[in-house]
């Protein structure tokens, strides 16, 4: 907590407006980038706007830690009449993750975009990237169920086209983007239907008001169906196990910038929104909610964690391995939710951050390698550690965190989840976690073996170390994984404070 406050320095007038500024600065940045005369200017605008957005997210986090939860009223009309942003410590943590990864990815894009996307598209690409960022921050900050849908769509519509731009390198990006568009829109529409059912039962759209009204209401058919639709809709967006079909293609074929940013943040925002509906909007302890956690969420999450890890073991393209690993990790996160305890929730949120940072580092390392070699398959990466040691080391740090090596953030995250599972007596969840980790070791081991211990194939294109402008954000991300592995006070305090607050309100 002390650390957080020392990090954040700003005038109080700015702090008071930070929640909305964290959303609208990237938004304005997007407009400015679209108007920018050259790709270089667009990149600078993107970096500045992302950094400013990240700074504001820091302000929000500081405030949320101090106040417990921030309510920012928009338009001068108190909820439920107007729309309000409502940010508790966990939301602030997620916002911080989005801001940090967004800023680092924006810096990195200075090199990767030039290599991957045609020059005349750079300004619009940066505009789309910033829109996506604004939308994701909006999803985690808003306190209004319908407003969340609008932000979901802002981030998605920007994303679809940006993934499709990956066709310059691999035409499979186009059908992947189209599939994502179809499934993503179906998911968002199912979410809207669910919100409609809740609105029919409560007459309000504000989440807090909804929660208050639902707790006095009989759990009738339409409320239950609303809940189911929201879960399925957001489950598609969050790549929950049987609904994850869009993810591998989208992550594997998108331009590097989008892979980094999406892998670290996009599914995470939807997962967090799901958590809010699970633990904030719906009254705890109802038979229906309990049954969902025990009989639907937990088995699916466990199945996803195991099956997708196995798929990752047998996959040959490196980016697809990491994409499948992401789905498996989402399964771990949902296992934490399924515990239905404050400890489980806070462990899951911590895991979200850990996973976001490590996946960002891994995809960014691949992006940095893609600057010099156009490799896709795992064996094409043989021996890159000798040619690009720093990049490979950063990748290895991310991978180590993914496996759960001590001294990395991933270790603390896994440990926290297992602890929470044991504390609530669900030993089988701990066992699934352990089994998933073993599988993770296998596929990460394959990657490491190829990168570090195999000699490069003769005649293969030589990898080169990425230029400093691309290496610096990469090392920063890897450094964050290690820093939080040594001293996790910032994410830990925020996630625990948020979870404790939620479960205190509804014991």
């Amino acid at each position: 907590m002390i650390l957080l406050e020392t990090l954040y320095v700003a005038p109080p007038t700015l702090t008071a407006q930070a929640p909305v500024l964290a959303i609208i600065v990237p938004l304005l940045g997007a407009c400015a980038a679209a108007l920018a005369p050259s790709g270089r200017t667009g990149w600078m605008i993107s970096v500045i706007a992302s950094l400013f957005g990240g700074w504001m997210a820091l302000a929000v986090a500081t405030e949320a830690m101090r106040e417990g939860a921030i309510v920012y009223v928009l338009g001068g009309f108190n909820p439920p009449l107007g729309i309000a942003l409502r940010i508790d410590a966990m939301g602030a943590l997620l916002g911080l993750l989005i801001g940090a990864v967004g800023a680092l990815a924006a810096v990195f894009s200075g090199h990767s975009l030039v290599a991957e996307v045609r020059t005349e598209k750079h300004t619009l690409f940066q505009a789309g990237f910033l829109l996506c960022q604004a939308g994701l921050v909006g999803i985690v900050y808003t306190g209004d169920a319908f407003n969340a849908f609008v932000f979901l769509e802002i981030s998605s519509i920007g994303t679809y086209a940006l993934i499709a731009i990956g066709e310059g390198r691999d035409r499979r990006a186009l059908p992947a983007a189209f599939n994502y568009l179809i499934l993503g829109t179906v998911g968002a529409t199912l979410y809207v239907i669910g919100v409609g059912f809740l609105y029919a039962a409560t007459g309000t759209l504000n989440m807090a008001d909804m929660a208050a009204r639902l707790s006095t209401l009989d759990q009738n058919a339409s409320v239950q169906a609303g809940f189911a639709f929201i879960m399925v809709g957001l489950g598609i967006k969050a790549a929950m196990f049987p609904l994850h079909g869009w993810l591998p293609g989208a992550y594997a074929h998108a331009p590097s910038l989008m892979s980094i940013f999406l892998a670290a943040t996009a599914t995470k925002a939807s997962i967090y929104l799901m958590a809010r509906f699970l633990f904030e909007v719906f009254p705890d302890g109802t038979a229906f909610g309990e049954a969902f956690l025990t009989w639907v969420l937990a088995p699916l999450a466990a199945a996803g964690a195991i099956i997708c890890s196995i798929q990752a073991v047998f996959e040959r393209e490196l980016r697809r391995i990491i994409a499948f690993s992401s789905i498996a990790q989402v399964g771990f996160i949902f296992l934490g939710f399924a515990l239905g305890s404050a400890q489980g929730l806070s462990a899951s949120v911590f895991y979200i951050v850990a996973h976001g940072l490590m996946k960002a580092a891994m995809f960014m390392a691949l992006g940095a390698l893609a600057l010099s070699i156009g490799a896709r398959r795992l064996d094409e990466f043989a021996g890159v550690a000798r040619e690009a040691p720093w990049t490979a080391v950063a990748f290895a740090v991310g991978a180590a965190s993914l496996v759960g090596t001590p001294l990395t953030m991933g270790f603390l995250a896994k440990w926290g989840l297992i602890e929470a599972a044991i504390a609530s007596g669900q030993i089988w969840i701990a066992v699934v976690m352990a089994a998933g980790s073993v599988l993770t070791v296998i596929y990460v081991g394959r990657i490491m073996e190829a990168m570090f211990f195999r000699a490069p194939a003769p005649g293969a294109p030589r990898a080169k170390e990425a230029p400093l402008g691309a290496l610096a954000p990469l090392l920063a991300l890897a450094g964050l994984s290690i820093w939080f592995g040594l001293d996790a006070s910032i994410p830990e305090q925020l996630s625990q404070a948020g979870a404790a607050r939620l479960f205190e309100v509804r014991p």
């Binding site: 407006q17 909305v20 609208i24 938004l27 304005l28 997007a30 407009c31 400015a32 679209a34 108007l35 920012y72 009223v73 928009l74 338009g75 001068g76 009309f77 009449l81 107007g82 729309i83 045609r118 005349e120 598209k121 619009l124 690409f125 505009a127 789309g128 829109l131 604004a134 909006g138 209004d144 319908f146 407003n147 609008v150 932000f151 769509e153 802002i154 519509i157 920007g158 086209a161 940006l162 499709a164 239907i193 059912f197 609105y199 029919a200 039962a201 409560t202 007459g203 309000t204 759209l205 009204r213 009738n220 058919a221 339409s222 409320v223 239950q224 169906a225 609303g226 189911a228 639709f229």
Partner: protein, 356 residues
């Protein structure tokens, strides 16, 4: 009226919904894409009539301009570029989707059992926030059209998001279709030496009228049905009509694609700017009561707009005016950009086919 299910309103409702169902089933069944598009156009017509029966004049307005106008044109542009008009059907592959859809439908029907009766004024949906808006709008905002008031002021942040979505679509379509080799003037595809004097003359007469009407819809928005979005689409339709009659080359000379994209961004900036002005003046984001500083408000003659005791009506009025202008700019330019994207590709497609 005391027996709400037997009145003319309900009978119309049932008739129109049954038509919708018939059309939707025909869309499912048809193998011709073009037929599906035409049926969707008809569907949208019927939806708009139904919306009028449901007292949703503003939504009907939007459905009119979007469903029948823009969607049809964009879909036509897309099938021109994809050269496929007949869909192949493999009935064996449809079993799983059918089961899936039946499950979803079953859940929905089960859920519908818990919904309040249709038209019930005392249902939760109609008695909580929705009612409060009706009671407070006049005092808070002073605009007769409650839908516009809610859209632009109470839930102005949603509308900012909506405008941003439109801008995102502009960015997306431009990234996908907006670049590549361009031709200055469209080749004249003169099939049989047609002459279209009638169309050209009528369109020349219509286009200024359409723009005039768009302005009326724009500035009449807080008094009657309509607003920035609808006006924007109508204005875009005027440009699209010009492009279709006089050629894309002529139109892009007047409304350059790059300029259109810039205007789209500028609309969002204008909207956000209004919010920031409120923020700088000490209110929350988009709190139009703070659009003008107290010094300015003191200069306003009392009662000029709305209630004489409420000088903030002035701020609300102008706030709504400005943000609707932002919406208009973004929507109009985005719709034109989207049309450029699809129609412009057509030229390239024709050239590519002729070349090969």
């Amino acid at each position: 009226m005391t027996t709400p299910f037997l009145d003319a309103n309900f009978a119309l409702n049932v008739a129109l919904l049954l038509m919708l169902l018939a059309i939707a089933l025909a869309v499912v069944r048809t193998r011709s894409l073009l037929a599906a598009i035409l049926l969707m156009g008809v569907y949208s017509f019927v939806v708009a009539a139904w919306l009028m029966v449901m007292d949703a004049a503003d939504v009907a307005f939007t459905e009119a301009v979007v469903g029948a106008g823009i969607s049809t044109i964009v879909l036509l542009g897309a099938i021109l570029l994809t050269h496929g008009e007949v869909v192949r059907v493999n009935w064996r592959l449809q079993v799983v989707p059918a089961i899936l859809v039946l499950v979803v439908g079953g859940v929905l029907i089960y859920a519908a059992g818990g919904l309040p009766n249709f038209g019930d004024p005392a249902s939760p949906a109609n008695s909580h926030v929705g009612r409060i808006y009706l009671e407070t709008t006049y005092g808070d905002i002073g605009a007769p059209n409650v839908v516009t008031a809610v859209l632009a002021s109470y839930r102005g942040f949603d509308t900012l998001g909506e405008t941003t979505v439109i801008f995102a679509a502009c960015v997306g379509v431009a990234l996908m279709l907006g670049f590549g080799p361009r031709v200055d003037t469209a080749p004249t595809v003169d099939v049989m030496g047609d002459h279209h004097v009638v169309l050209r003359v009528i369109s020349k007469m219509l286009i200024p009228l359409i723009v005039l009407f768009a302005l009326y819809v724009q500035f009449h928005g807080d008094l009657g049905a309509g607003g920035g979005f609808q006006a924007g689409v109508i204005m875009a339709v005027a440009v699209i009509l010009h492009a279709m009659i006089f050629g894309l080359g002529e139109t892009t000379k007047a409304f350059r694609p790059g300029v259109m994209r810039s205007i789209s961004a500028f609309g969002v900036v204008l909207y956000t700017g209004v919010g920031i002005v409120c923020l700088v003046n000490g209110g929350g984001f988009l709190d139009y009561d703070f659009l003008f500083t107290p010094q300015v408000e003191a200069m306003i003659p009392p009662g000029l707009l709305g209630d004489p005791d409420k000088p903030h009506h002035w701020g609300q009025h102008f706030g709504i005016l400005f943000i609707e202008l932002g919406v208009l700019l973004t929507v109009a330019s985005t719709m034109v950009s989207i049309f450029y994207g699809f129609a412009g590709r057509t030229i390239e497609a024709i050239k590519a086919e002729r070349g090969s």
